[in-house]
């Protein structure tokens, strides 16, 4: 495992980080601990809620996957939820990713992601401006966000609440003159309030990868890596199966839409008895086309 310390001005120092120095009131980044190998930078950051919905996680995976297939480095913060999905989506599409930590490289935080951390290190880099043993203190994270913003040419915000860390990344990005994009979300509930407000304030809506194409380096616009067959859930091996779904199954999927629906409501909407519904849902869960969440909510696995 290669671990090294980069000082500002080093030949390998990412040029895009120098923009941070030009920014008034921005804490200076003296040096960085790097573990792994730094991929091509600037990349694109995909950030969002730690408590993301199933749809949010899926969205982040898809965006990161699409970017990865164009050879773009995906930058995120290795937090739970969207960050984690962004790294994962990028890696399963065969891309390279950078995780900027809010603690020292030797600190295993958040503990749930230690496996993901290994894979990120293997096909990209972990970066931290903190000492190897520094604890994940709360004020580290907003500071860390300036590095995420610095390492990318654009930030895509997926599902952010008002006051969330993703919005602080977006703010740094604006200050640095990077493009900020946000994925439009439901106006019910608070889950998308922050990202939707970004859109109202002039952020570019992200609907698919074409929305970001002009911001990518020229080589990335042309190049599209082939989709990997063994990729994970979102790689839609389901197109063939989709056609074969009988009426009830497709009706059920149509009802679910983007937001998970409770089993109870599904039964009412489909006019099925509890037993028939359980069999239908069970078969679909077994086939992997839906997932049952704690509490009895039913979610799609593919969009």
């Amino acid at each position: 495992m290669s671990r090294f310390r980069l000082a500002a001005g080093d030949t390998r120092w990412p040029a895009c980080l120098s923009d941070l120095g030009a920014l008034r009131g921005c804490p200076w980044v003296h040096s960085l601990w790097v573990e792994g190998e730094l991929p091509a930078l600037p990349g694109v950051a995909v950030v969002g809620s730690r408590r993301a919905s199933v749809a949010g996680v899926e969205t982040a995976r898809r965006i990161a996957g699409d970017l990865a297939r164009r050879g773009v480095t995906v930058v995120s913060g290795l937090a739970r939820g969207v960050d984690c999905a962004a790294h994962g989506g990028c890696l399963s599409a065969g891309g390279r990713t950078v995780a900027v930590l809010g603690c020292g490289l030797d600190v295993d935080y958040p503990p749930q992601n230690s496996a993901l951390r290994q894979t990120v290190r293997a096909s990209g880099a972990l970066i931290s401006e903190y000492g190897l043993d520094d604890a994940p203190v709360s004020w580290h994270f907003p500071h860390r966000n300036r590095i995420i913003a610095g390492l990318c040419s654009a930030v895509v915000v997926v599902e952010a609440r008002v006051g969330s860390g993703a919005l602080s990344t977006a703010r740094w990005a604006l200050d640095l003159g990077r493009e900020v994009l946000a994925v439009p979300g439901s106006i019910l509930g608070r889950a998308n309030e922050g990202s939707n407000r970004l859109l109202r304030d002039g952020a570019r809506p992200y609907l698919d990868v074409s929305d970001i194409e002009d911001l990518l380096p020229a080589w990335a616009r042309a190049q599209v890596l082939p989709r990997r067959i063994d990729g994970s859930a979102h790689e839609d091996p389901g197109t063939g199966r989709q056609r074969r779904l009988d009426g009830e199954r497709s009706r059920l999927l149509a009802i679910i839409g983007a937001e998970p629906v409770h089993r109870e409501s599904l039964g009412l909407a489909l006019g099925l008895g509890a037993s028939q519904l359980a069999v239908l849902v069970g078969e679909m869960e077994l086939a992997g086309s839906i997932r049952i969440l704690p509490g009895g909510l039913v979610s799609r696995t593919r969009w």
Partner: protein, 409 residues
């Protein structure tokens, strides 16, 4: 009649009056078994003692009355036994009164048919208590021997006011989580009393907010859940009480109770807190709970619509038919309820077809099921097939059983 063929039981007061005592019914049964069929007891105990068939019971109010009767001076007429089942149906909740909750109701039906222990997860106010009360109504009437056995336990506890003596309905006990261990399992000073687990014998033990019960209490439930009886050890003796109940437990899905709510404010409990909360139910308890069902708090339209709810009586008929099928099989296996099937007996009873086996294999790989989890699914699947009147457990039954296995592993 010679006095050595007569038993006189009662509490003698200083004024010569005779008062009733607890445990008359089991005493009368025991006496009859040892050949004593003439009893003289307090009037308030007379009907209870007379329930034991073959016993002749005289009720007296005072010692003087008893002496006069035994000397033949003023002979009294034996009390006749109250007819079994001659009580108005218990004021439980009819299933039709519970709106919506189709899945929970289906789970109740399956649980009643196979005597499976059931866990309901849902926010406060979702209707878990109402469902549990309706559940007792789904169980068929007890046989008169069983009813007498139950009445004997209430008699021992001195709790006949809780339950009409002659009731044939399976009992429902719902102790609060502040219950003492002795109150729940049995015990007490002096002679051991049966606890709530025994008062729920042949009926339902409903533990609301099961995560709030002290851990020791839940550990102590292990023996009755596994052996269908409970041994209460006192200083002088160990007493074994029957405790064959269906456990219906209810819990919030997370400390705030809002996890997985279809509408309203969403849950804000951190994942670790949810895991810790649900792990209170881990281990031996979970192994004995065959089914888990979520009970969502429904919005107004769901509560007002769907007026066509099935009444308890109709579901109970299906439950009784499914239980009859289990009894037919019991002739060969000796196991009277699907919830008690284990190992080879279970596999043999299921007679899985190929499509069902396929589903089990795929699901087993997908969710990395333990052997115990497999068995739970098979037991529940067996009951689903019994409710459908099928000899073999098919794919649909297995798939439906998977849906009732619950998320917590």
């Amino acid at each position: 009649m010679p006095l050595d063929e007569v038993a006189c039981i009662g509490e003698l007061a200083l004024d010569g009056g005779v008062r009733g005592v607890a445990g008359m019914l089991p005493m009368a049964r025991r006496l009859l078994a040892s050949g004593i069929r003439h009893l003289v007891v307090a009037t308030e105990n007379a009907a209870e003692a007379a329930m034991v068939e073959g016993t002749s019971v005289i009720g007296v109010d005072s010692l003087a009355m008893a002496v006069a009767h035994l000397e033949g001076r003023i002979p009294l007429q034996p009390v006749s036994a109250p007819p079994m089942g001659d009580v108005p149906p218990h004021g439980g909740v009819d299933l039709a009164a519970v709106r919506g909750q189709a899945l929970a109701k289906r789970a109740l039906e399956i649980a009643a048919a196979g005597r499976h222990n059931l866990l309901m997860l849902g926010a406060p106010g979702a209707g878990k208590t109402m469902l549990a009360r309706a559940f007792a109504g789904l169980l068929p009437d007890l046989g008169s021997d069983e009813a007498l056995e139950v009445a004997a336990l209430y008699s021992l506890r001195g709790r006949l006011s809780d339950r009409p003596l002659t009731s044939l309905r399976p009992p429902l006990r719902a102790p609060h989580h502040s219950v003492s261990r002795a109150g729940l399992i049995g015990g007490g000073a002096g002679i051991a009393h049966p606890g709530e687990v025994s008062l729920a014998h042949r009926g339902v033990l409903f533990l609301d907010e099961i995560c709030e019960f002290p851990r020791g209490h839940l550990e102590a439930l292990r023996q009755p859940l596994e052996e269908r009886r409970v041994a209460v050890t006192r200083v002088r003796a160990t007493v074994v009480f029957p405790a064959d109940f269906v456990l219906v437990a209810a819990a919030n899905p997370c400390p705030c109770g809002r996890l997985g709510q279809p509408s309203g404010p969403s849950c804000r409990c951190p994942e670790e807190v949810i895991n810790r909360y649900q792990s209170r139910l881990s281990g031996p308890m979970r192994d004995r709970i065959d089914m888990t069902v979520e009970v969502p708090r429904l919005g107004g339209d769901a509560l007002l619509g769907g007026a066509n709810e099935e009444p308890t009586a109709k579901v109970r008929e299906r439950v009784a038919a499914a239980q009859a099928r289990q009894l037919e099989r019991a002739a060969a296996t000796g196991v009277t309820a699907n919830a008690l099937l284990e190992g080879d007996q279970l596999l043999h009873a299921c007679r899985l077809d190929t499509r069902a086996r396929d589903a089990l294999t795929i699901a087993g790989e997908k969710w990395r099921l333990s052997a115990r989890a497999y068995h739970r699914v098979l037991r529940v699947g067996r009951t689903i097939a019994d409710l459908a009147g099928e000899d073999r457990v098919g794919r649909e039954a297995v798939i439906e059983a998977f849906q009732l296995r619950g998320q917590v592993q």
